[in-house]
Every structure is written in structure tokens, then in C-alpha cells.
């Protein structure tokens, strides 16, 4: 069913532009914020959701006229944006770059959870009051709302352009975007600029939420995450921080998706889009519309990681903690506690893996759950389909995750900064989508059932003690190996790449080789972690390791302290433990979790134990 005539292609093109139009609404705001604050604002999707709910209140509860509703949404979300800047970001001005990113993740948890509690998690209808006429184009049609969305997109971009070109504040915004410190020295009130930009972008984000809510006649508290992700991808295609580029990138993303559906079918939509994203990044490492190649300017000190004074735990304390951890099941027999800690050890493996690439080498990966998935599937399929004993399948899965993970991320090795994060995010999504679509190997959406448990001499190791001890021992071994690696020449080489890759290259450090090495070690560790999970869970499918797991892993790593082995373990224990601890709070617990996360970032932005 390959479209052969011209007609369908026209339809696919129009559909692609229509959906790209919707992505553009979010991408523009994200680009604006990135432009001045160099921050990927993960809370933007939540602002969009809030806008939709304010609109819902206005339309269905207060029966406001549509223009008043729009104004209310813009004002409400603009204020929210200013608040986000004030409480989430300004206090972190001098903190490591990564801290505000984490703060936006924390803020989005708080906003989403609050909405869920206030408005219930049920989706709601958001009827449009617009006329219902439609214009037939090709085989399909577009309606008033499509035109309104396009109008708002182009109109707001034009307004922004005018604001940036012709007003004093606009000049200040542009000056800040070019060089924040210089602007500050010239008397620009950078805080005011940031606040303004957040307010404008958030107002726009809120209006987008309302428009999209009306478009689909559906709003729900979780609508922001996926939409925000698409917006981020779209603005990256255009080149971060570039407002017209964001619009073009959005339309292009819409077209890519639509053509992907046309060529391969609906279930390949995102797979095709993410592969295209990676190709674009590889060919144009700074986005499609970036200026000609530029050497990054010489920084005054290290590039990415802010100065840090790590907290060094004394050896005897670590020894004591290890002995206590190993002995715990003798003292406490509560299977729930042991299982929770066992989960923490398994996630610590993931955090350990991520802290090596994101912390030590500075390649902030947002798709690390993909390595878990590869390891889990490899081990499960080796054990089930190839009949390999589980104890052998687990390390083999580690090797496969190391090899496959490194190969998949390899194209991203030439990218820098945020582009690495987005490319790895894409790789993570690609892994999930390949698992979903490659049915002959992975059983597709049905998942792998009956994964055998770990067993020794025919005795399955499934009791509470074993789910605690096995991950703990594996974790201790890998933590030891990683500590040793960090104290060898590799430790300083990898950290040198993170601190200043240009200087490192000038001293003979082959970036590809060491990034590859780091990803391979990380892939092995995470792969083994995923494999263990598969054998404990007995069932895995493409939803076992979803994108939020990658976010969680990154949160653990930042919370513990970048590159910090003990920190990764601590981060995992805290973030696996807190939601369990807050269980008594029932549906409030994720809200509390978000607040605690924000407080931790606020008061310990370099992580609990600090960057090493």
C-alpha cells in the first residue's frame, strides 16, 4: 500500500504541515528560553498543560468569551513563567549548568502532579467555540482551528521578531543571548531579561496548550511531557535558540513524521522521526539553520562542569557501610524493605553507568534506559530462545549492550553539549521503537514472557534476600571497578574531556576512542543491570523501561554528584526510596517527591556528594 499517485503525497504534506504547525507553538517558546538562558526547559510542557487547564476553566466553568479566555491564559502562564524563573532558576544562577535543567524537571513534576490532584487525572473535553467550517484540500480538509493555530504561530513569531528588533528590552534580550556577562557589564538587567523571556515564552506555551487542547478536544494532566519532547526535538532540528529555525524545524519534523507514516506505516512514525533527527544532527551538528562551522569560543575555565569540592567519604566509613549493607538481610527480614533496597541497587547500576558518561565524560545522556532495555532483551532472549544458561546470559547481555549501545551512540560522539543529550534521547527512543516493531526477534508489543529467574544448581534465587544480595554484590563489584578506573590514567583522561574537550584533543586525547570506551563500560554495567531486572521480573516489554526511567537515572546522577560513584549509589537509594517512604501520602507522594527534589537542588546544586 505504497502511495504511488501524487494525491496522497499532497495529503501527507498538508498533514505534516498541520502537525508541524502545532509543534512550532511549543518550539518557539523553548527556543526563546534557550536563546537567553541556555537552558532546555523541561517545565515548558507543564506550562502548556497549565494553559490548557486555565482555558478549560475559562471556557467550560466561567463561560468567558474566547478572546478573554486567551488573555487569561496568556497572563496566567506568563506569571507562572516568571515564577518558574524566580524560584526555580534564579537561585541557581551560579550553580552548575545542569542544576537548572534538573530544576525544570522537578518543577514539571510538581506542576503535573498538582494538576492531577486539582483536576483529577481523567482527560477532559475542551470544546472549541470556533465555527466548524472546513476547507477541503486534496483528499482531506483543514478547519478554522488549523488556521488559527498557524496564525498564532506566525503572528507570535512576528511579534517576537518585532520585540527583539525594535524595543529596548528586546535589544537587551538579544545582547544577553549573545554574551550574558558582557551584557551584564553594559548595564543590562539580566534578571529582568530572563524573567521577561520566561514570561513571554510561557504565555505562548500556555496559549499553545489551550489551542492544542481545543484542537484535540482533550486535555489531561500528562499532556505536557510528550508535547514538550516534540517541541525540544523540533527546535533542535532548527538549531537551539533560533526562533525562526524552531518554526522551520517544527514544520520539518511534522513533514518527516507524516512521510514516515506514508512510507512505513503508523507504528514507524516516531522511529522514522528520531532516525531523521540523528541524521540531521550528524550532518549538521548545530542544527539545520546554524551558521557556518565555528570553533567554540575559548572559555575562561572548564566548559561544562562548575567548580566543585566533592565530599570525600573516608575509607573506613565506606567499608563499614558495605559490611552493613551486606549484613542487612541477617538483621532485617522484611521482604518489602529488602526488595526496595534491591531495586535501589539495580537502579544504582544504571546510575553508575550514567554517571560515568554524563558525569565523568560530560556526555549527558537522556536515553540511558535504552541500555537497560537492550541488556534485558538480550539476556531474556538468549536464555529463552538460544537456551543459554541464565548465569552466562547476563554477562553476555552486558557485552551486547556495551557493543550495541556504543555503536548506536557513536554518531553522536561528534556533537557537543545539549545536542548530545537530544541525540541520546533519540537513541533511547529508537531502541524502544525497534523493540516494538521488530516482532520476529523481540515479540513486539506482546513482550517476552516466562523469562527464567536466576538460579544456581536448579534452585531459583527469587526470595527477598536474593533480590537484595545479587544486585548488591554486582553493584559492589562494578562500583569497585569504576573507582579503580577513575583512579587510573583513564580517570583523568575522561575527566579532561569533560572539562575541556578542545584542550584534551590538543594533548592527544582521541575523543572518539575515550567516549567509546566510556559508553562501552557504561553499556556493560547498565546492560547487566537490565538483564538482572528481566530475570527478576520474568516479563518485559517495550514499556518496562520507558523514557521517564532515563530522566530518573539522570536525576539520580545529578543528585549524587556528577561522576561520583558513591553519589550514584546514594542518588539511587534516595530516589528509589523516597517514593516508597512517601507511600503513606498516597496520591500526594509524587508531589512531595517533586518538592523534595527541588529543595535538594536548591540547597545542594552540585549534588549531595559533589562532582568529582
Amino acid at each position: 500500500m505504497f502511495p504511488t499517485s501524487f494525491g496522497p503525497w499532497l495529503d501527507y504534506t498538508i498533514n505534516g504541515l498541520v502537525i508541524g504547525n502545532i509543534y512550532a507553538l511549543l518550539a518557539v517558546g523553548l527556543a526563546l528560553i534557550f536563546g537567553v538562558s541556555h537552558l532546555i526547559n523541561f517545565a515548558h510542557g507543564s506550562v502548556y498543560m497549565v494553559g490548557a487547564y486555565i482555558g478549560w476553566l475559562g471556557i467550560t466553568k466561567l463561560n468567558l468569551p474566547l478572546p478573554v479566555t486567551f488573555a487569561a491564559v496568556a497572563v496566567g502562564c506568563g506569571l507562572l513563567g516568571a515564577v518558574i524563573e524566580r524560584v526555580g532558576l534564579r537561585p541557581l544562577r551560579n550553580a552548575p549548568r545542569i542544576a537548572p535543567l534538573l530544576a525544570t524537571i522537578g518543577l514539571s513534576v510538581v506542576l503535573d502532579q498538582s494538576a492531577q490532584l486539582l483536576f483529577s487525572p481523567d482527560p477532559r473535553a475542551l470544546p472549541t467555540q470556533l465555527p466548524s467550517w472546513r476547507i477541503a484540500i486534496g483528499g482531506g480538509s483543514i478547519g478554522a482551528l488549523d488556521l488559527l493555530i498557524a496564525g498564532v504561530g506566525i503572528g507570535s513569531a512576528a511579534l517576537l521578531y518585532g520585540f527583539l528588533r525594535f524595543t529596548r528590552l528586546g535589544w537587551a534580550v538579544r545582547a544577553t543571548a549573545l554574551d550574558r556577562d558582557a551584557a551584564q557589564q553594559c548595564g543590562v538587567d539580566v534578571d529582568k531579561v530572563n524573567r521577561t523571556v520566561f514570561a513571554i515564552a510561557s504565555a505562548l506555551g500556555g496559549v499553545s496548550g489551550l489551542l492544542v487542547g481545543m484542537y484535540y478536544n482533550t486535555i489531561d494532566p500528562n499532556m505536557g511531557f510528550q508535547a514538550g519532547l516534540k517541541g525540544i526535538v523540533a527546535q533542535l532540528i532548527g538549531g537551539v535558540g533560533n526562533v525562526p529555525g524552531a518554526i522551520a524545524g517544527s514544520l520539518l519534523l511534522g513533514l518527516i513524521e507524516s512521510y514516515g507514516i506514508a512510507l512505513f506505516g503508523t507504528s514507524y512514525r516516531n522511529l522514522f522521526a528520531f532516525v531523521a533527527l540523528i541524521l540531521i544532527l550528524v550532518l549538521r551538528p548545530n542544527g539545520l539553520f546554524a551558521k557556518a562551522r565555528r570553533l567554540p569560543p575559548e572559555p575562561l575555565t572548564g566548559t561544562f562542569i562548575a567548580p566543585s569540592r566533592p565530599l570525600v567519604l573516608p575509607g573506613w566509613l565506606i567499608g563499614l557501610l558495605i559490611v552493613a549493607a551486606l549484613a542487612l538481610p541477617f538483621a532485617v527480614q522484611q521482604p518489602y524493605l529488602l526488595q526496595t533496597l534491591g531495586n535501589a541497587w539495580l537502579y544504582a547500576l544504571l546510575a553508575l553507568s550514567l554517571t560515568l558518561v554524563a558525569g565523568t565524560v560530560g556526555q549527558v545522556s537522556l536515553g540511558h534506559a535504552g541500555l537497560l532495555a537492550i541488556g534485558a532483551y538480550a539476556s531474556a532472549l538468549l536464555a529463552l530462545d538460544a537456551g543459554i544458561p541464565v548465569l552466562l546470559a547476563v554477562p553476555l547481555a552486558g557485552v551486547i549492550a556495551a557493543a550495541l549501545g556504543t555503536a548506536l551512540v557513536f554518531p553522536a560522539f561528534r556533537l557537543r553539549g545539549h545536542y548530545v543529550s537530544i541525540a541520546t534521547l533519540a537513541v533511547g527512543e529508537i531502541v524502544t521503537l525497534v523493540i516494538l516493531n521488530w516482532e520476529s526477534l523481540t515479540r513486539g508489543p506482546i513482550g517476552v514472557t516466562g523469562v527464567p529467574p536466576l538460579s544456581v544448581a536448579g534452585t531459583p534465587l527469587v526470595s527477598g534476600q536474593w533480590v537484595y544480595w545479587i544486585p548488591l554484590v554486582v553493584l559492589l563489584v562494578f562500583a569497585g571497578v569504576q573507582t579503580r578506573l577513575l583512579s587510573s590514567h583513564l580517570g583523568r583522561t575522561l575527566r579532561a574531556i569533560r572539562e575541556d574537550d578542545v584542550a584534551a584533543r590538543s594533548y592527544g586525547v582521541d575523543l572518539n576512542r575515550y567516549k567509546g570506551l566510556a559508553f562501552a563500560v557504561a553499556g556493560f554495567v547498565a546492560g547487566v543491570g537490565g538483564a538482572l531486572m528481566a530475570h527478576f521480573y520474568s516479563y518485559i516489554n517495550h514499556e518496562t523501561f520507558p523514557a521517564p526511567v532515563s530522566m530518573l537515572a539522570l536525576t539520580m546522577v545529578i543528585l549524587g554528584g556528577l561522576g561520583n560513584v558513591a553519589g550514584a549509589v546514594l542518588g539511587a537509594v534516595v530516589l528509589v526510596g523516597l517514593p516508597e517512604l512517601f507511600r503513606a501520602a498516597a496520591e500526594y507522594r509524587m508531589l512531595i517527591y517533586g518538592v523534595v527534589l527541588l529543595l535538594l537542588i536548591r540547597f545542594r546544586p552540585q549534588g549531595l556528594l559533589g562532582t568529582v
Partner: protein
């Protein structure tokens, strides 16, 4: 509006209360009640109250609340009150396994209900099986869900039963010969797709195209171009209510006016709310239907609407049904973990809102031969379908 303000206040107050309480609050247990025969019988529930699937957990909660109220109003089970301990899992496997350990170790808990997604539910199955605590997955339709062992049961509608019924509706009743299928690309959708395709073929129709979409997809315009180009004379949806409503809207906007048949999982007041005028004329089959004249259904529906102010949907009715079923089994066999498993195997014609009466096939541990009702959306409500009104869908355009 007022309720939102009230809830805002509750939210703030609740957060503060919980935060202050956290230091002191230990899981409420061992309040050393004197008489074990008056101790409540507890059923553990593992389900999503927060996170991406929270809406389903909220629906469950409404069903459980009503069921508990009714059971306890009529004296509880064997003279003891029935309780539910609902633990939020976010349908995250690492949390469901922890919850499973918790339930298993808690001797008050005699059976477990949930979780929601297959990935989350089936990760915990080995723990329930090894400990000998019944895991009763009342929405788990994964074909292998009950295969972990004899303590894993499900009364979820079996797709092998449902899909032929749906195909029958689409082909024999509505006269579809070339059917295009849109299915949610997860274990349920994928299994259903195969079963539907097979059943349609057996009835002399052809499935001319099958488009699998991701769970969080909202835009179907391009998928529908593919559907259109297969020139179908009927469209079948293997969807939940939110995506089902979305597809139907976009389908009508794209000018596709073929009759639409949707799997029973679209059965929800939300389907009507989100789909608006576009879902007029959509056909579905469901075992549960509030308009069903059976007295137990009518009691349930009126009690539910009185309590929650909205119509029941598929998930809350299933939750209600599952809890009542367990109560029946406990009444018959006693509040004992193993007795409940044995009781499930032998329970005969247990009353059920969803199925009329239920019996389990002790081999597959699934419901034996459930029945279904044919419905159509008419004037913004689900109504029993009368043969002869096949062109309801066309009339809607």
C-alpha cells in the same frame, strides 16, 4: 469552579499535613486489635494513582469504594469488615514488585488485585505465585497473564472471546467486506488485531489495512490517509476511549464516513465527552452496559451515579465487579489465601455486573464464555443496537 478552589485548599493543606506527618507516620499496622474474628479482611490493590496511568487508577478507586460500601453494609464477609489497601504503583514494575513483597509479607492480606499495565502486573506475578497469594488481574488481558502459575487469575475479557464478537458485529451485522483496522500498539492491541483479522476472514471479510499507533499518539491524520487509500467499507478500532474518540473525530474530519466498530474498551462516558458529535453512530460491544435491564446492573448503576455523580465506565465497573467477586469467594471459602485460590476454581455462577454470572476455567484461570451486548452511540449516549439501523453512522454525517 468552587470545587477546584476547594481542592486547591485541600491540596495545600494535604501537602502540609503529609509533610509534617512524615516524620512520625509509620505504616499503620499492628494496632493490636483484640478479637481476630472482628479484624478486617484486607485485599491489596496495586494500581496507578499517580503518573501516566493515574486516570485508570482513579476509575478503579470509584468502583472499589462502591463495592466496599455495599459489602460492608450487608455485614462484610464472614462477619468481618472488608478493606482495600490501595498502593500506588504508577504501573512501574520496580514499584509493583516492592508492593508485591509488602502484600505477601502482610498476613492480613488475603488476595491481591491489579496492576494495570502488563509490564507492571506481570513483573510482580512470580512473587505472588511463589508466596501463594492470589493475584487477580481484572483488566489484564495479556494472553500469558495467568500462565505464571495457579495463583494468577483474571476475569478480564479474553480477546479470543471478544474479537470474534466484534468481527461478527462488523461483518455479519454491519455488512463490512473490506475492513481497515487501527489498533493501539501494545500487547492487548496487537493480540486483538490478529484475532480480529482471523475472525473477520472466517466470516468472509478482508482486513485491508492495519495501522498500529503508539499509546500517546494524538494525531492520526496521516494514518487516516493510509486507511482511506485502502478503500475500506468499514473501520474497526482496537482502542481505549481517549484515543478511540480522537481517531473517530479525525476520521470524520477527513471525510471518512464508513461505519466504525470499536472494541469494548471505548465504553466510557469519556468516549462520548471527548468524541463529541463525531462518535455518533460508533458501534461497540461490551459485556457491561448500564442500560442492561438486569437488576444487579441497575442497582449498580443507580448506586454508582448516586455516589459519584457520573455514569460508570468500563474500568470502574470492572473494579466493582472484581471486588464483589472476591467477596463472594471469601464468603464461600473463607478469608484464607489458599482457600481463595481454590474457591475461584470452584465458584459457580457468581453474580457479576459485567458478565451476568461468572465461572472460571480452572485450567486457564480465565472467565468461561462471557457474553456481550451490541451497542451503538445514539443521540450522544450508548444505546442497544437494533438490527436495521445499520446506517446510523452515515446519518451522523
Amino acid at each position: 469552579m468552587l470545587d477546584v478552589i476547594a481542592r486547591s485548599a485541600a491540596l495545600v493543606a494535604g501537602t502540609l499535613a503529609v509533610l509534617t506527618a512524615l516524620g512520625v507516620a509509620q505504616p499503620a499496622r499492628s494496632q493490636t486489635a483484640a478479637d481476630p474474628t472482628k479484624e478486617p479482611v484486607v485485599i491489596g490493590v496495586s494500581g496507578p494513582l499517580t503518573g501516566a496511568y493515574a486516570q485508570y487508577g482513579a476509575q478503579w478507586q470509584r468502583g472499589f469504594d462502591l463495592a466496599l460500601e455495599q459489602v460492608n453494609a450487608s455485614g462484610g464477609v464472614q462477619g468481618r469488615p472488608l478493606r482495600v489497601q490501595f498502593e500506588d504503583s504508577q504501573s512501574d514494575p520496580k514499584q509493583t514488585v516492592a508492593i508485591a513483597r509488602k502484600f505477601v509479607a502482610d498476613s492480613r492480606i488475603v488476595a491481591e488485585l491489579g496492576d494495570f499495565t502488563s509490564a507492571a502486573s506481570m513483573a510482580a506475578s512470580p512473587i505472588y505465585q511463589n508466596a501463594g497469594l492470589v493475584q487477580f488481574g481484572f483488566t489484564n488481558s495479556h494472553p500469558d497473564f495467568t500462565k505464571t502459575g495457579d495463583f494468577i487469575w483474571s476475569n478480564a475479557l479474553n480477546q479470543a472471546e471478544e474479537m470474534p464478537v466484534l468481527a461478527d458485529y462488523a461483518v455479519s451485522a454491519l455488512g463490512g467486506k473490506r475492513i481497515a483496522l487501527l489498533f493501539i500498539n501494545n500487547d492487548w492491541g496487537r493480540t486483538s488485531k490478529d484475532l480480529f483479522t482471523k475472525a473477520a476472514k472466517e466470516r468472509g471479510a478482508e482486513v485491508v489495512g492495519a495501522e498500529g499507533y503508539l499509546a500517546d499518539e494524538k494525531d492520526f491524520r496521516s494514518a487516516l490517509v493510509r486507511v482511506r487509500d485502502t478503500k475500506p467499507d468499514g473501520i474497526a478500532l482496537i482502542s481505549y476511549y481517549a484515543d478511540g474518540a480522537q481517531i473517530t473525530r479525525q476520521l470524520r474530519e477527513a471525510g471518512l464516513s464508513q461505519p466504525v466498530v470499536a472494541a469494548g474498551s471505548v465504553y466510557s462516558p469519556k468516549f462520548l465527552e471527548l468524541g463529541g458529535a463525531a462518535v455518533e453512530g460508533v458501534h461497540t460491544t461490551t459485556p457491561f452496559f448500564p442500560g442492561d435491564p438486569r437488576p444487579e446492573v441497575q442497582t449498580f448503576v443507580s448506586a454508582y451515579t448516586a455516589k459519584h455523580g457520573i455514569d460508570p465506565d468500563a474500568y470502574s465497573s470492572r473494579a466493582y465487579d472484581a471486588l464483589l467477586l472476591l467477596a463472594t469467594v471469601i464468603r464461600q471459602s473463607g478469608p484464607d489465601r489458599k482457600a481463595i485460590r481454590d474457591g475461584l476454581a470452584t465458584v459457580k455462577d457468581a453474580p457479576s455486573v459485567v458478565y451476568g454470572t461468572v465461572r472460571f476455567d480452572p485450567q486457564t484461570r480465565r472467565v468461561d464464555k462471557p457474553f456481550s451486548t451490541r451497542l451503538v452511540v445514539k443521540n450522544g449516549a450508548f444505546a442497544l443496537w437494533q438490527p436495521g439501523s445499520t446506517d446510523a453512522a452515515k446519518a451522523a454525517n
